[in-house]
C-alpha cells in the first residue's frame, strides 16, 4: 500500500479555498435556491403575501404560447450566433494559421471584443445601427435601405445576432488557432504531397481534426447565447420590438422585474438552470470521449 503524506491540521487549505466557496455560495447557491423556492410560490400583486402552489407556475408556463415562442426564438438565436461566430472565427483562424508571423498583432486585435462587457458591446452596435444617429444605418440609407431595428423585428434580431456573435468570435478564434497549431505540420505536408490544395487540405484534414475543438466551442457558444447575451439584448433592443428579440434570459427579466410575475420568472430560471446543467453534462461526456476519431 502506498503511504500517504500527512501534513498536520492546518487552516491554510481552508483559507485558500474559502473565498471561492464564499463566492459560489453568495452568487450561485443562494440565488439558485431562492429561484427554486420562488418557483413554487405565487405572490399577490402587492408582494405582501405568497402561497405555496406546487408546480402551478411551471404548468402555467408550459401552457403559455408566448413562452414557447420565446423558446423557439432562443433556439433560432443561439443557432445563428453559434454558426456565425464559429464560422467567422474558423475563417480568421485558418488565415492566421497560414501567416503565422503576423499572428501576434492580428491575434491581439481579435481578442479585444472578448474583453468588452456585453452591455458595452451592445451599446456599440446600437450606436452603429441607430436609425437616426448610426453610421451604418446612415450608409444603408444611402443605398436606399431604410434600416430601423426599433420598428422591424427581423432587423432587431439581425442586430442582436451580429452583436452577440461579434463578441464571441475572439474566444472561438483563440481555440481554433490553438487547435490548428496542435495539428502536426507533417500531416499538412503529407497532404500537400498527396496533391491536396489549401482548400482540400482544410476540408479533408484540418477541419476533421478540429472536431473536438469545434464540439467544445459549439457547446460553449450555445451556453453563451442562452445565458450571457442578456446585456446585449438589454442594451440594443430591450427584447423588442413587440418581443421580437425576447429570448429566454430576457423573458426571465421581463416577466419578473417588469411584469412582476416572480413565480413565473423563477420557474423560467429553474428551467434555464436545468438546460445549462444538461449542456455541461453533455460537454463533459464528450470531452472524455474525445469526439469522432
Amino acid at each position: 500500500m502506498l503511504k500517504r503524506v500527512h501534513f498536520g491540521p492546518s487552516v491554510l487549505p481552508f483559507l485558500l479555498v474559502g473565498p471561492q466557496i464564499l463566492i459560489t455560495l453568495i452568487f450561485f447557491i443562494w440565488p439558485a435556491s431562492q429561484a427554486l423556492y420562488q418557483s413554487v410560490l405565487i405572490e399577490d400583486a402587492f408582494g405582501l403575501s405568497s402561497e405555496f402552489v406546487w408546480f402551478d407556475n411551471f404548468i402555467e408556463l408550459f401552457e403559455d404560447v408566448g413562452y414557447w415562442e420565446s423558446v423557439g426564438r432562443t433556439f433560432f438565436f443561439s443557432s445563428l450566433v453559434a454558426a456565425l461566430s464559429m464560422s467567422a472565427a474558423l475563417i480568421l483562424a485558418a488565415m492566421a494559421d497560414r501567416i503565422i508571423k503576423v499572428v501576434l498583432a492580428y491575434q491581439t486585435l481579435l481578442i479585444w471584443p472578448y474583453a468588452v462587457a456585453p452591455v458595452v458591446a451592445g451599446a456599440l452596435w446600437m450606436f452603429l445601427f441607430d436609425p437616426t444617429l448610426g453610421i451604418v444605418a446612415y450608409t444603408l440609407d444611402m443605398f436606399g435601405y431604410d434600416w430601423n431595428h426599433k420598428l422591424n423585428g427581423n432587423e432587431a434580431m439581425t442586430l442582436v445576432v451580429f452583436a452577440a456573435s461579434w463578441k464571441m468570435v475572439s474566444y472561438n478564434f483563440l481555440f481554433f488557432v490553438a487547435g490548428m497549431q496542435s495539428i502536426p505540420k507533417s500531416l499538412i505536408e503529407a497532404a500537400a504531397i498527396d496533391g491536396a490544395g489549401p482548400l482540400r487540405r482544410f476540408t479533408s484534414i484540418i477541419f476533421p481534426l478540429l472536431s473536438p475543438t469545434t464540439f467544445f466551442l459549439l457547446v460553449m457558444n450555445v451556453v453563451y447565447a442562452f445565458f450571457d447575451t442578456f446585456g446585449i439584448v438589454h442594451a440594443v433592443t430591450k427584447g423588442g420590438p413587440a418581443r421580437a428579440t425576447e429570448i429566454l434570459v430576457y423573458k426571465v427579466y421581463n416577466d419578473g422585474f417588469i411584469g412582476l410575475d416572480l413565480g413565473g420568472s423563477a420557474a423560467q430560471s429553474v428551467i434555464l438552470m436545468m438546460i445549462v446543467i444538461a449542456l455541461t453534462v453533455v460537454q463533459f461526456r464528450y470531452v472524455e470521449k474525445k469526439v469522432a476519431y
Partner: protein
Amino acid sequence: MAEIHLNKVCKSYGDVDVLFGIDWTIFDGEFVVIVGPSGCGKSTLLRTIAGLEKITQGEISIGNRVVNDLEPAERDIAMVFQNYALYPHMSVYDNMAYGLKIRGLEKDEIERRVNHAADTLEIRDYLDRSPRQLSGGQRQRVAMGRAIVREPSVFLFDEPLSNLDAKLRVQMRLEIKNLQQRLGITSVYVTHDQVEAMTLGHRLMVLNGGYVEQLGTPIELYEKPATEFVAGFIGSPSMNLLKAKISGDGTKAEFSDHNSLYLASALPSQANRQVTIGLRPEHLMVNKTSQANMSIKVNAVEHLGADTLAHGEFEGCDEIVTLRLHGIVMINQGDILPLEIDPDKVHIFDTETGKRLE
C-alpha cells in the same frame, strides 16, 4: 524515369544559412543516402527536393524538369516522414487512397493499387483499421504503402526507421532495400544512423554543417574517407583519431618519444607538420611476438560475443584507443597489449584542414 540534379543548392532561413551550394546528380533508379549528424541540414535538403521548402539559390531538377517553382504535388514525388504523418481520422485504406482520389483515379483502379500495395507490405488485414490501432512497425508500412500506391518517380525518406525498436529497424531496413530494388524507383533516404547509411544505399552523401564532406559508395567512404569528419562518422565503433607529428624525413608519424608508426608511403612535403592519424578499431591487431613498437594499456573491456572491444590508453600519451578483436578474447583491465598495424590501413589527415593526405 527520373534523375535528380542538384545544382548549387543553397538554403537560408532569414539570416541562418543551412545549406551551402550542394551539387549532386542522382541517377535514375539509384538509391542514395544522405547522412550526417543531427542539425546538419539533411531534412532541409530532402524537403527542398520535395518542394516543402523553397531554395534560396541554385536549381533542382527532377527528370529533366526544373522544379524550383513547382508545388510538392506537381513534382511527382512521394515522401515517408519520420513520424509517419498518417491521417489519424482515416482508415488505413483511406490513408493510402487519399492521394489517388485527389488525382481523380477510377475507384476500381484505386482499389487495385491499394490492395496490391497492401499485399506487398503485408498489411492487407489492417486496411479497415485506424492508424491508432496499429503498432509502430505497421504504421511504418502504411506510410510506405501510401508512397507506393502513387507510383511516383521519386521516393523521399526522412529518417523513417528512427522511431522503431532495434530489431524492427533491422527488418524494415532490409524490406525497404528489397522494395526499392524491386520497384527501381529513384530514392533519397535521410538518416543519422551510419549503419543504415552503409547498408542501404548505392551511394551516400555525408553532410556536415550544410556542406558536403564526401560523396561516394559506402566502401569508398569506409576505405578512403576524404576528411577527418567522414573518418570519424563512418564505421562503428568509430575510427581512432590520434594527434601526431610527421617526422623530419616524412617516413614516420610520431606520437611521443617512444611510439611511432611507419607510413606506407613517405610524406616529405608534410615533414614536421601536425597531422591526425586515423586507425580503425578493427585494423588494430594484437601481436605479442612481433617487434611492435606501439602498445596500449587496457582500461575497459566489452564482450559483444562476436567481437571483443578493448578500450585503452596509448602508452606515452593520454589518448584513448579502441580495439575491435574478433571473437571472444580474454583480456583484463591493466593488460599491456603490443599492437601491430598494417601501414596500408593507416589514414592521415591534415589537422588544420581536416583533409586526407596521401
